[in-house]
């Protein structure tokens, strides 16, 4: 049985105060250079929620604009106002910080998140009005505590402050006095990841039009680790988020692999469904506070707004073949092996041309490639270039080397087979998967036949190996109900066996005659 993509959810959360307090570029600067000009200037470069809403790439991420529409807008985009500024889109939503802090409290099951009671009173109604929130989630929100108690916890108990418009409105307490893995900082980071994953799960399940109880397994592919001093990465974000999202029939597990994890998780989900182990699997990931404002120094130096002020999340629902939705082709998997090496041409060959060669396909037989979809508006001013474009040029260069396109057409390839990046630089979030929602629609509409999702990961950052990593898979137009397309149904098997038995009996009878 093939597996298909039934739906996807994409969410963003605008978290300007977390840029200041929790992004590692800022926390590092506060240690090494506490009086720096950067820290003084930074607050004036933060965007309002309204500005974040009318930012082109954000509207593409939640599905209100398409990648094609974005590529027609001249770069840079930070100084353009998108004509759509809705907070809800067909793939998900952009949540303001206030609602998200309440959602974090709702996602906390160890009484670690404390919110100022006035803050709760002021914003609870807004969260309750959010179409994705149900009574169970709202019932978990408590009335809050006195502001003075929060100030005391932050100053005396090492709690991590939660701020809104630079005002202390809550905190995350440490979960252990000694264990650094349960420190307030780590609990904050993990609760942000969990809460944004919950929001993504709720969006994806709603978009797929399935009942929550149909989900049997959840795979979390974010980049955080939860555990204690005896099992630092013990897990399990997947099941924790599934619990709050109300996926009562699901269990799950965490899949890790830096930015490549979402592609690994998608292949695992497709294989679990194709093997018959589970009927419905959801791949999910929340976002990452550490990366907020990661390239902020360059953005501030160049007079730009802080564009890395969004927490990202996504979830994809994978189910058994329904004869309609696009299929994940498990015969066309690319993988960077231990022996592949780190030369860019070797990496791209292993991920792109190796699987195509096995199927006798050319590079140009894939309609669209989705490698790393980082928003170039963020990366270019930071000196990291246009990451998706660099990936397309590499694929095109390979195609030239293989004689599949002319060298003169090198620059046409990114236009014809590529996309312009729109995803926030949240590590794993941009890695191939932001396109799955659009790809599903275009494959359903018959505009495309095949797309390739490529995930790449910088394993060397973990100091366990110098190796790079990556995997790829192809999503293609549904080839129809499997029983009708050459497969054999249970009824057909029964009738074939019955026929064979009759014939065998007839032979026996003939022999006795």
């Amino acid at each position: 049985m093939k597996s298909v993509i039934k739906g996807a959810g994409y969410i963003l959360v605008h978290t300007p105060d977390m840029v200041l307090r929790n992004g590692t570029t800022q926390t590092t600067e506060r240690i090494v250079n506490p009086d720096s000009e950067y820290l003084k200037e930074l607050p004036s470069h933060l965007r309002s929620f309204e500005q974040a809403l009318s930012y082109w790439p954000n509207q593409v991420y939640i599905g209100n604009k398409t990648p094609d529409e974005l590529s027609a807008v001249e770069q840079p985009w930070h100084d353009k106002v998108c004509d759509v500024n809705a907070r809800n889109g067909k793939f998900g939503q952009i949540m303001p910080q206030e609602e998200f802090l309440l959602l974090m409290q709702s996602c906390d099951v160890f009484d670690l998140v404390k919110l100022d009671k006035d803050f709760v009173a002021a914003h609870k109604a807004a969260l309750a009005a959010n179409p994705l929130m149900d009574e169970t989630i709202m019932a978990r929100i408590n009335d809050g505590v006195d502001g003075a108690e929060i100030a005391r916890l932050v100053s005396e108990e090492h709690s991590e402050g939660l701020y809104d418009h630079d005002k202390l409105v809550g905190c995350v307490n440490r979960a252990h006095d000694i264990d650094v893995n349960l420190s307030a900082h780590v609990m904050h980071e993990n609760l942000v990841s969990k809460a944004s994953s919950v929001l993504a799960l709720l969006s994806a399940v709603k978009n797929a039009g399935i009942d929550k109880n149909e989900v049997e397994y959840v795979i979390d592919c974010a980049e955080e680790a939860c555990g204690d001093m005896n099992q630092r990465g013990g897990g399990n974000f997947a099941k924790s988020a599934a619990e709050i999202a109300g996926l009562m029939s699901a269990t799950g597990s965490d899949c890790r692999g830096f930015c490549a994890a979402p592609a690994h998780a998608m292949i695992e989900a497709a294989a679990l469904v194709a093997s018959g182990a589970y009927q419905t699997v959801v791949v999910t990931a929340g976002g990452c506070t550490a990366k907020l404002g990661m390239n902020g120094k360059d953005h501030v130096k160049k007079g730009l707004p802080i564009l890395e002020d969004m927490i990202g999340g996504f979830a994809v629902v994978v189910t058994r073949n329904d004869g309609v939705n696009p299929e994940i082709n498990l015969d066309l998997l690319g993988r960077h092996c231990v022996g592949t090496g780190s030369a860019p041409q070797a990496v791209i060959s292993s991920l792109v041309t190796a699987p195509l060669d096995r199927a006798g396909l050319k590079i140009t037989d894939i309609d669209k490639y989705s490698p790393e979809m980082q928003n170039p508006d963020i990366t270019k001013p930071a000196g990291a270039g246009d990451v998706p474009l660099a990936n397309y040029k590499m694929i095109a260069a390979l195609a030239v080397k293989r004689g599949e396109i002319e060298k003169a057409d090198l620059m046409k390839f990114p236009v014809e087979h590529g996309l312009t990046g729109w995803a926030p630089t949240q590590g794993h979030i941009p890695s191939g998967v932001p396109y799955i929602g659009f790809a599903r629609e275009d494959l359903l509409a018959g505009k495309l036949n095949r797309v390739m999702i490529v995930g790449k990961g910088s394993l060397f950052l973990g100091r366990m190996t110098n190796l790079f990593d990556g995997v790829s898979f192809v999503i293609q137009k549904n080839s129809g109900e499997e029983t009708a397309a050459g497969g054999v149904s249970e009824e057909q098997v029964k009738s074939l066996i019955a026929k064979a038995m009759k014939e065998f009996a007839a032979t026996l009878l003939a022999q006795t005659d």
């Binding site: 780190s342 030369a343 860019p344 000196g383 990291a384 630089t425 941009p430 950052l461």
Partner: protein
């Protein structure tokens, strides 16, 4: 005389440019001694 032969080479590669290990292979082929090789990541 060459730039690299007999020198101690420090490599700062880039995940989205040329990774450290690829540069390391080149430097060694020029007779340099690679004392450090890393790959940076901006995304």
């Amino acid at each position: 005389m060459g730039i690299l032969a007999g020198k101690k080479v420090v490599i700062i590669g880039d995940r989205d440019g040329i990774p450290g290990q690829a540069i390391e292979a080149c430097a060694k082929s020029a007779g340099a001694e690679v004392v450090f090789s890393s790959t940076e990541c901006f995304v």
